[in-house]
Each structure stands twice: as structure tokens, then as C-alpha cells.
């Protein structure tokens, strides 16, 4: 009897109206974008896109999803209403990752093979500028005020600071080996850059451009080489950052003030990118090797579910 009561109670608790949100995951090896219902945490459908989809971002009005399809050298535009590719944008060759400028009109795209950042005007669907950066550009970030765009180049091990208005390189900062991702703090005062090979995150002051701190990740029982910092996400309040640790199968929660690792979440294999829900209560990781995404309940500090989505999940975005 108690089991039945507990079971019914649990159903009640599980069926609390969760925020109506949808998770989009790019499956690098399936050439699809998986659509996962946030309330039931189950796969709804998949959308066919171009070849090798990786970086993704929502339009400012959250009605369209941009998907960088590297092997087709373009960006697919998915209409989230009918869940179909309804348009394409030029991107320069092999786009891996990009950001949408806060003005909603431009994309800044990293062209991995050409050592360029391309600026794409969304409305006219034209490349309106290119910026020379280091070898193998990948990580992209834009400050909240829209003034700066940061780009990391994997082989040069640098982060390049670009003026988003004039498309000029403002500064180049040396970082740890193979920088994968960059993120501005919400107030724009800090720039975080993750290093895949060193397993570190370096923190810069955006005004003085001096290094102000470094986070070294360690996972008990996993060799140093197995701990690689890749995708990052910063909470809106700026107090917490989340870092995917790749082959360590963990996501680290970092206190942005003390730079201390608060806890490690066990997720699927090789998480590439992580994303926060709109209410900041949930984090989702895209796990490249195990072909699933993991939902982390940040209030209860636990991983609640891992959902298979396809082969090679890479990018992850949460929309309405």
C-alpha cells in the first residue's frame, strides 16, 4: 500500500507543471537536430539539416534556429514553428561555431579551415566582412553590450578580441593549449577561455586584458589528460559558471568569485557543450560519445535523466 501511495505521490510531483521549454541538439554524425521536450524529458522529433551540424544559436526573437553545417559550408535556418529548414545563410568555409550579435542582425562565424571570422548579415543573407584570426578558430563569444566579439584559435592557442562595430582586431591574448570555448561574464568585465589539452579555464579582465585567474580541473580517479575543458555556460546572475569536461564525463560547477569548483556532475560520455534553461534551474549537456543529453537539476544538485538523441550530439540550445 505504501508503495502505491508513494508511487502516486511521485507521479504528482513529477507532473508538476515544468517550464514549457524545448531543447535542440545538433547530432554531428546524423546530420540532424534532435528536438527534446523539456517537460517530459523525451525526444519529440528530429529535423534533417545539412552535413555535420555543430554550432547552433537561436535568433533574438527565438523563432528561428541557426545551425552551422560545416561540411556544407553554410548555416541552415530552421523555422521552429514548423520545425523545418526554411532558409540558408552563407558562412564562409567550414563553419564550426558562431554567435548571434545582440542587435539580432548579424552572425559572427568561426571558419575553422580559413583562419577567419566571417560576419553574416541575416536579413540580406550576405557575408559583410571577414576578420583574420589565428589557426583553426573555434570558440566564439559576444559581450552582452555587443561591443566585443571573442574568438579562440585552437592551434595558435590565442583568444582574439574583435570590435563588433569596426570588425577590427583589438587584441590577441595567449591562452593554454587548444582553447575551445570563450564566454563573457554577464557584466562584460571578464572573459573566460577554456583549454582542451590543459584542462583549464583562464580568466581575463576585459579592460586591462590581464589574466586574473586560472581554474585547474581535477576529477578523482581520472588521469590529468582525461580532464579537458570544452564548452562553457555562465549563469545570468554571473555567480556560477558550468564547464563541460569532455572525456572526464563530468560537468563542473564553478564559483565565479573564488574560482573554486563547487561540484562535479556525472553526465554521459564526452560532453561538448552545456546550456542553462531560461529559469536557470536546469542545465543540459550534449554528450558526444554516448549519443545522449543529460539533464541536471541545479536546485537539487543532481543529474536526473539522460536521454538518447542520436549520434554525436555536439551543440545544445534551449528555446521556448
Amino acid at each position: 500500500m505504501q508503495v502505491v501511495i508513494a508511487f502516486l505521490l511521485s507521479l504528482f510531483i513529477l507532473s508538476r507543471p515544468a517550464t514549457a521549454e524545448t531543447i535542440y541538439v545538433s547530432n554531428e554524425q546524423d546530420n540532424t537536430v534532435a528536438v527534446v521536450d523539456g517537460a517530459s524529458m523525451s525526444l519529440s522529433t528530429t529535423i534533417d539539416v545539412g552535413r555535420r551540424p555543430r554550432g547552433m544559436a537561436l535568433s533574438v526573437d527565438k523563432k528561428r534556429l541557426f545551425v552551422a553545417v560545416g561540411d556544407d559550408n553554410r548555416i541552415d535556418v530552421v523555422d521552429l514553428g514548423n520545425r523545418q529548414v526554411t532558409g540558408q545563410l552563407p558562412s564562409g568555409t567550414d563553419p564550426e561555431f558562431f554567435v548571434v550579435h545582440p542587435d539580432g542582425k548579424r552572425l559572427f562565424v568561426a571558419n575553422e579551415n580559413d583562419n577567419l571570422v566571417s560576419v553574416v548579415d541575416i536579413e540580406s543573407a550576405k557575408v559583410i566582412g571577414t576578420i583574420d584570426v589565428g589557426v583553426e578558430p573555434e570558440g566564439m563569444a559576444v559581450s552582452a553590450d555587443g561591443r566585443y566579439v571573442a574568438c579562440t584559435s585552437e592551434t595558435t592557442s590565442m583568444v582574439h578580441l574583435i570590435d563588433a562595430g569596426t570588425f577590427e582586431l583589438v587584441d590577441n591574448l595567449l591562452v593554454d593549449t587548444r582553447p575551445r570555448a570563450a564566454a563573457f561574464s554577464p557584466d562584460g568585465k571578464q572573459l573566460w577561455v577554456s583549454s582542451e589539452i590543459r584542462g583549464t579555464v583562464t580568466v581575463f579582465d576585459t579592460t586591462s586584458r590581464a589574466e586574473t585567474g586560472k581554474i585547474q580541473f581535477e576529477v578523482p580517479g581520472i588521469r590529468r589528460e582525461g580532464v579537458q575543458a570544452v564548452g562553457m555556460e555562465m549563469a545570468r546572475d554571473g555567480a556560477t559558471a558550468y564547464v563541460a569536461l569532455g572525456p572526464a564525463n563530468r560537468v563542473a560547477e564553478v564559483d565565479t568569485k573564488t574560482l573554486a569548483v563547487r561540484r562535479l556532475y556525472l553526465v554521459g560520455q564526452r560532453p561538448w557543450h552545456v546550456v542553462l534553461s531560461d529559469d536557470q534551474k536546469r542545465l543540459v549537456s550534449a554528450n558526444g560519445n554516448s549519443g545522449d543529453i543529460s539533464f541536471i537539476d541545479l536546485e537539487n544538485e543532481e543529474v536526473v535523466k539522460s536521454v538518447p538523441v542520436g549520434r554525436g550530439p555536439w551543440g545544445v540550445v534551449i528555446g521556448p
Binding site: 508503495v3 511521485s10 556525472l266 543529460s294 539522460s306
Partner: protein, 268 residues
């Protein structure tokens, strides 16, 4: 059998079990230390052993500590059941068992009361262990602690009835100590307490089959599922059926007229 009489007998037996358990400080201590040693030391070496697969009722990847806790809770019940039936053999050698069985109540009732008393006395330690396990980040839902109660009772009864059966067959205490080693270790190791079936299947289909058919596995899975607010009807039925079978066999075993007792020439 009058109701009041029956209740008095039950409370009497329960009281005796409780007194005896509380007086055995060493046994109490070892009962709680044993699973903690497994959790803190044994499980530490296997932390990431399950990282490759999601085993129901878990919905995501879990560390080995999380996986092994329900198995260790069942292990506590198993050890407790065996220790309790060891006490039964002792009672029989000392003659207090004969005294109990001469009470004007049905033998099955006295044995059931003895069994129930033993299970109830053993449960607080299991809960203590589950609470301490939170330190290792084994944190099932709060309601799971409530839901697991009937599962623990049923599993405890099944294992207790099994112990009762073993004690009815065994002739002396020395004999029984040997039986314990031959019973506890195979029961525990060839089950899903330490490794999920798919992991055992890697080692060999025979081992996987033994574990799948081992009623102790069903007890472990019943505890595991209910602790995470799931229900596994197959495990529940297996545990219930095994309890009935073991208990009936034990009742027959304790029959001075018909059972093995008479063949051995009565008490002791």
C-alpha cells in the same frame, strides 16, 4: 488461538528479540560497520565501473556507490537473517526453543512471530545505513525511504524464512557456522547486489543466469526499484513466493513429529 493470547505472544517474542539484539553490542556495531566498509573502501575502487550503461531504475549514469547501496542494504538483511537463525539454533541447543514451541499456540504462528520480530529489530540499522550513505552522495528521493519500507520488510521476511529453514535442517551450531559461509557468500556474490546482470553476462552466461534466478537478486532489485520510487512486480512476486515456500518448509522442518527433528531424535 485467541487474539489477545496471540498478541501477547508476539509482543513477548518481539521484546525478547529486542533485548537480545540490544545486548549484543558487537553484533550491532559490526552490522552497521560491515556495509560501510563495503561502501567506503570496496566501492571506491569501482567508482566509474558502471559509466557505460544506464541500468533501470536509474535514468542516468550513476557512480558505483549509488548502484551498490541497495545491494548492501539487502546484505544487511541477509546477515541479520542468518545471525538470527544462528540464535535459533542456540535456542534449540539451550532448550528455550522447546519451551517456546510448547506454548499453546500453533507452531507456524510462533515461528512467524519469531520471524517478524527478528525483521523488525533489524530494520532500524538498515535505515541508519541508508542515511549514512547520503554522505557518499547516494541520495534517493525522500519518499523513496518510505516506499522502500514494505520492500525491506518483505525481503527481510523472505531471507529470515530462508534462515529459519537452514536452521531447521542444521543439527548443531558448529555445523550451522559452516552453512553460513556456504550460504551467505554465494547468495551475495552471485546476485545483482554488486554488479548488474549485463556486467555479469560479460563474465559468462552461466553466472548471469544464476544471478537472474537467485531470489536474493529479486530482493535487491525490489529494494532498488522502490527506493527510487519505481515498482518491479516480478521481483515482488518472486520474493513473496520464495517467502511462502521457505516458510512452509521451515514449519515442516520444525515439526517434532514429522520433520527432520524427529529423525534426529528431537530437541538438540
Amino acid at each position: 488461538m485467541r487474539k489477545r493470547h496471540a498478541m501477547r505472544a508476539l509482543t513477548g517474542i518481539l521484546h525478547r528479540e529486542m533485548l537480545r539484539t540490544l545486548r549484543q553490542r558487537g553484533r550491532l556495531l559490526s552490522a552497521i560497520v560491515r556495509p560501510l566498509v563495503w561502501l567506503a573502501i570496496f566501492a571506491a575502487g569501482f567508482r566509474s565501473v558502471l559509466g557505460l550503461s544506464i541500468t533501470p531504475p536509474y535514468q542516468t549514469y550513476v557512480l558505483y556507490e549509488v548502484y551498490v547501496v541497495p545491494g548492501l542494504a539487502a546484505m544487511m538483511l541477509l546477515f541479520h537473517a542468518m545471525a538470527s537463525s544462528l540464535a535459533m539454533v542456540y535456542d534449540r541447543e539451550m532448550g528455550s526453543m522447546r519451551l517456546l514451541l510448547t506454548a499453546p499456540l500453533p507452531r507456524w504462528y510462533l515461528l512467524a512471530a519469531r520471524l517478524l520480530a527478528s525483521v523488525i529489530v533489524g530494520l532500524p540499522l538498515v535505515y541508519l545505513f541508508l542515511l549514512i550513505a547520503r554522505h557518499w552522495d547516494v541520495r534517493p528521493p525522500v519518499l523513496g525511504y518510505l516506499a522502500v519500507f514494505p520492500a525491506l520488510v518483505l525481503s527481510g521476511l523472505m531471507l529470515g524464512a530462508f534462515g529459519l529453514l537452514v536452521s531447521s535442517i542444521s543439527t548443531q551450531m558448529e555445523n550451522f557456522a559452516g552453512v553460513m559461509n556456504f550460504v551467505i557468500f554465494p547468495t551475495f556474490f552471485a546476485s545483482t547486489a554488486l554488479y548488474p546482470i549485463w556486467r555479469l553476462a560479460e563474465a559468462g552466461p552461466v553466472l548471469a543466469m544464476i544471478a537472474a534466478w537467485n531470489p536474493f537478486s529479486s530482493a535487491v532489485e525490489l529494494i532498488r526499484f522502490t527506493l527510487y520510487l519505481n515498482f518491479d512486480p516480478v521481483s515482488a512476486l518472486v520474493v513473496l513466493a520464495c517467502f511462502v515456500v521457505f516458510f512452509l518448509a521451515a514449519v515442516v522442518g520444525y515439526d517434532p513429529g514429522r520433520g527432520l527433528w524427529s529423525r534426529r531424535g528431537g530437541d538438540g
